[in-house]
Amino acid sequence: MSRDADIIGRVTSPTEPQRPIKVLIAKPGLDGHDRGAKVLARGLRDEGFEVVYTGLRQTPEMVVSAALQEDVDVVGLSILSGAHMTLLPKICAGLREQGMDDVLVTAGGIIPDADVPALTEAGVSRVFGPGTTIREVAEYIRGNVRRSD
């Protein structure tokens, strides 16, 4: 009976508020390699997230502005150009300046291990390297997102 009610609840509640986690996937800087970002966006979609994708060649200001207008829970930054030590701290600072301290910031791409502590210090909560599975990213987000509700 309770299982039955559960099924009915799931099947018949289109007006029930649903609140998927909202993620911004952004490509800051000047590299044109967005296959990884797109694959991740697609994978997170399949994990039930609402994923806003910004496209290539974003300045830190563009990323912050998109995160603000979309009121996302998570900002995922994909960067393979080597400019991560310049761009990622700027984005983290920009988010803080706009009062978005509660937004979870993650990064992925080609980022040397030696740079991770400085990025963590700047506000990137997790750096995902090559070989990370989509499931790992999804679980990390679910476990660490700080939703204000």
Binding site: T15, V52, Y53, Q58, E70
Partner: protein, 333 residues
């Protein structure tokens, strides 16, 4: 420093005062249909009703987002603040979504008078999200005089946007088909303006003249129809969002319609406002009825009725009557 959380006043007050962080937060509350969102809407609704709501619809890949971005650029030349609500579909399986319309609109990032918000359809059919009208009201009350509502990529009959927008723009690509496509009922019928986008591509002029021939004929027939519902006679324009050709003319055409609307309007625009009110009200009624039926004391009988319909033991009309009768009862009896 301009910290959203540190501001004074309610989200609605702060959004109206120009706090973009508060506006974004409020749109989330409205989209999630929270009590806070509802309360804010009650406060904001009387301040809304001023903006020109322009629905932009058309097939996937017809260039809706790029065209909206071009129209925003054009409107910004006059210094007008512009908001965009861009809807993309939610997965019916996982509930997830890719909201990709911003990709075409990023040239406006950093302009605080351009506010772009993506919404997932979240199971709502018809090309919009359930919270779209409410989100538009919030942006309207927050001082955006021009609001574009871009639907999901549509097919032939997702005409809901026409019920909520003041002006409906249907975007067509040059290779949209022949004249028979142009005379089919549905999407093209609700257009106030049809734009053949990608006018830099071959075949665009031909497509526009075919559409004109099929859509704009019949004025004489209209007069003969007297008071019967008559089809719209849309303007057919050519534009290229890529080169910018025709975009200024398109915005001018939208503005002319806005002037008519604001100057007291025609019977047609009154009808649009009534339809929007109806769509909004019925949406809320359906939600309230759903909530009440899920309330403790009723949900058991609601579920039993659903199971009976699923098993074909009772017809859905009798079931609906039964549930309406259930609503009239005191839930605690």
């Amino acid at each position: 420093m301009s910290g959203g959380t540190a501001g004074e006043g309610t989200l609605a007050e702060r959004a109206r005062a120009g706090d973009r962080r508060a506006l974004a937060r409020l749109l989330t509350e409205v989209e999630n249909r929270t009590a806070a969102g509802e309360q804010a809407l009650r406060a904001l609704y009387p301040q809304a009703g001023r903006a020109h709501l322009v629905g932009v619809t058309g097939a996937p890949g017809s260039g809706k987002s790029t065209l909206v971005a071009a129209l925003v650029t054009e409107a910004r030349r006059d210094g007008r603040p512009v908001a965009v609500i861009a809807i993309d579909p939610s997965s019916p399986i996982t509930g997830g979504a890719i909201l990709g319309d911003r990709v075409r609109m990023q040239s406006h990032a950093g302009d605080r008078d351009v506010f772009i918000r993506s919404m997932a359809s979240r199971g709502h059919s018809g090309g919009l999200a359930a919270g779209t009208i409410a989100a538009a009201a919030v942006l309207d009350a927050s001082g955006f005089p021009l609001i574009f509502i871009e639907t999901v990529g549509t097919g032939q009959s997702e005409v809901e946007v026409a019920a909520i927008a003041d002006t409906t723009l249907v975007v067509q690509a040059p290779e949209m088909g022949d004249e028979v496509q142009a005379i089919k009922a549905g999407l093209l019928e609700v257009a106030d303006i049809v734009v053949v986008n990608k006018s830099d591509r071959p075949g665009a002029d031909r497509a526009a003249s075919q559409l004109r021939a099929m859509l704009t004929v019949g004025a004489q027939h209209d007069r003969a129809m007297g008071d019967r519902p008559r089809p719209k006679r849309p303007d057919v324009l050519l534009a290229s969002a890529m080169t910018g050709a025709g975009v200024a003319e398109l915005l001018a055409s939208l503005d002319r319609r806005d002037v008519v609307r604001r100057s007291g309007g025609t019977a047609e625009t009154d009808a649009a406002a009534l339809k929007r009110a109806e769509a909004q009200l019925y949406g809320i009624l359906a939600q309230r009825v759903g909530d009440q039926l899920r309330a403790p004391g009723r949900s058991e009988r609601r579920n039993a009725t659903l199971r009976a319909v699923a098993a074909h033991e009772i017809d859905p009309y009798s079931a609906a009557d039964r549930l309406l009768a259930l609503l009239a009862e005191n839930p605690h009896e």
